[in-house]
Symmetry: C2
Subunit: 209 residues, 2 copies
DNA sequence: GTCTATACATCGATAGAC
DNA sequence: GTCTATCGATGTATAGAC
C-alpha cells in the first residue's frame, strides 16, 4: 500500500512521505473547518489559508473539492472501523446489542458534519469513490455480522435495528447537539428491540426467533 | 392579514395580489429545483431563469437566499400541518400511533430536500425566522398531543418515539430513496413500540402505563 | 414597484511560468 | 511543487429608467 513502484522496494520515498504528510495536514484542517462551519460551508480557499498555501496549490494534493470530501469520507469510516475492532462483543445478545448501539450513537453524536458526510446525502453531486465506499461497506458488514452473531438473521429485523439506532443518532444531533437527551435512551431502545425480536424474556434471552 | 391600511378596507389590492402570486410562483420553482438538484444546490440566478426573471429582480420578493429557504421551510411545515388536520385519529392507541407514523414517514420519504430543510441542519448559517419556526412548533405540538391522547405522557417515551419514526424516515431516504424498504417496517416498528410502552397485550391495549 | 444595468467579493477550477 | 494569472459562475448589492 505504501510502495507501488517495483524498483527500490523498501527504500523510503522521502518525497512521497512529505507529500502524504502534507495531505494529512490538509485533511486535518478540513475536519476542523467542517466541524466549525458545517459540511457544506467548506471552501478550498479558506482551507488553503488554514494550511498556509495558495488555493491553487491544493490541487497538487486533491483533484477537486469532491476529492477532499472523498478522503474525509474514507477517514470517518476508517475511524468507525477502528472502534469496531477495539470493542469486545459479549456473548449475551442483549449486551452485544447495547455495546454496538452505544458505539454507533456515540460516534455519530460526536460530530455532526461527519455524520452528515458518512450517512446522509447532503453534498450536491458528491458520491464516494469505489475505494472509499469499500471502507463503508466493510463497516456495514462488521455491524451486520455482530447482529447475526446475536441471533438476528432476518433482514427486516436488521433494517428495523439500523432505523432505530440511526434515529437516536439523528435526533441527538438535530435536537440536542452536544447533550445526551437521546444517548440516555439507548438502553431503553435496545431493551425494546430485544423484547420484540427475542421474545418477552429479557434477562436471559436464549430463545432465538 | 390581507389589509393593514385603514382606508378602503375590503377592497382587493390587485398589486399585492399580483405580488403574492409571483412570490408563490418563485417558491414553486424553488421546490422543483431543490428536489431535482439537492437543497444545497439552489442558485438564485438559476431560480430567476426558471421564472423568466432577471436574477436581481428576485430581491423584490425575497431579501436574500436565506429568505427563500425560510419560506420553503414554512411551506413544508404548513403542508405537514395540513396533513395532520386531514387525518382521523383512532381512539385505539395502537391504531393512532400507526396512523401518525405512516403520515410522518410517508411525508418524509416523499421529498429528500424537504426533509433536509425541515428536520436537519444542513444549510450553513440558515435558521428559520420566528414566524416560520412557529409553524414548526405548531406541527410538533400537534404530534405530541396525539401521542398524549394515546396515553403517552412520559417525555422519554416520546423522545424514543420520535427517534424511531425519524430513523425510519432517514433510513428510507438514505438507503432506498423512492422505494418502500423502511416504509414497510412502520407497522412492525409501531407494534414494537406499543409493546414496550403499553405492555405485552397488543391486540387490545387498554391498560395504560 | 418592477425592471435593466452594473458593480463587487467569493467560489471551484485550469494553464503555464519557474 | 508552488506560484501568478485567469476563467466562468455564484451571492449580494446599488443606481436609475419606466
Amino acid at each position: 500500500m505504501t510502495s507501488t513502484i517495483p524498483a527500490d522496494t523498501g527504500r523510503r520515498d522521502r518525497r512521497r512521505d512529505r507529500h502524504d504528510a502534507t495531505k494529512r495536514e490538509i485533511l486535518d484542517a478540513a475536519w476542523q473547518m467542517v466541524r466549525a462551519d458545517g459540511l457544506n460551508a467548506l471552501s478550498l480557499r479558506a482551507l488553503a489559508r488554514a494550511v498556509d498555501m495558495e488555493p491553487q496549490s491544493l490541487y497538487t494534493y486533491f483533484a477537486s473539492k469532491h476529492a477532499v470530501y472523498d478522503h474525509l469520507f474514507a477517514d470517518g469510516n476508517h475511524e468507525l472501523l477502528t472502534r469496531f475492532e477495539q470493542i469486545e462483543i459479549s456473548d449475551d445478545p442483549h449486551q452485544a446489542l447495547c455495546t454496538i448501539a452505544r458505539l454507533f450513537v456515540t460516534f455519530a453524536a460526536e460530530d455532526q458534519a461527519r455524520y452528515e458526510l458518512l450517512f446522509q446525502r447532503t453534498i450536491p453531486d458528491f458520491e464516494p469513490s469505489p475505494e472509499s465506499y469499500a471502507v463503508a461497506t466493510e463497516v456495514f458488514s462488521r455491524g451486520r455480522s455482530v447482529l447475526t452473531a446475536a441471533g438476528l438473521g432476518d433482514d427486516a429485523d436488521f433494517d428495523l435495528w439500523t432505523a432505530l439506532v440511526a434515529g437516536l443518532a439523528s435526533q441527538q444531533l438535530a435536537n440536542d447537539p452536544g447533550g445526551d437527551r437521546y444517548i440516555r435512551l439507548i438502553d431503553a431502545a435496545v431493551a425494546m428491540f430485544a423484547e420484540h425480536v427475542f421474545g418477552k424474556v429479557v434477562p436471559n434471552p436464549d430463545t432465538k426467533a
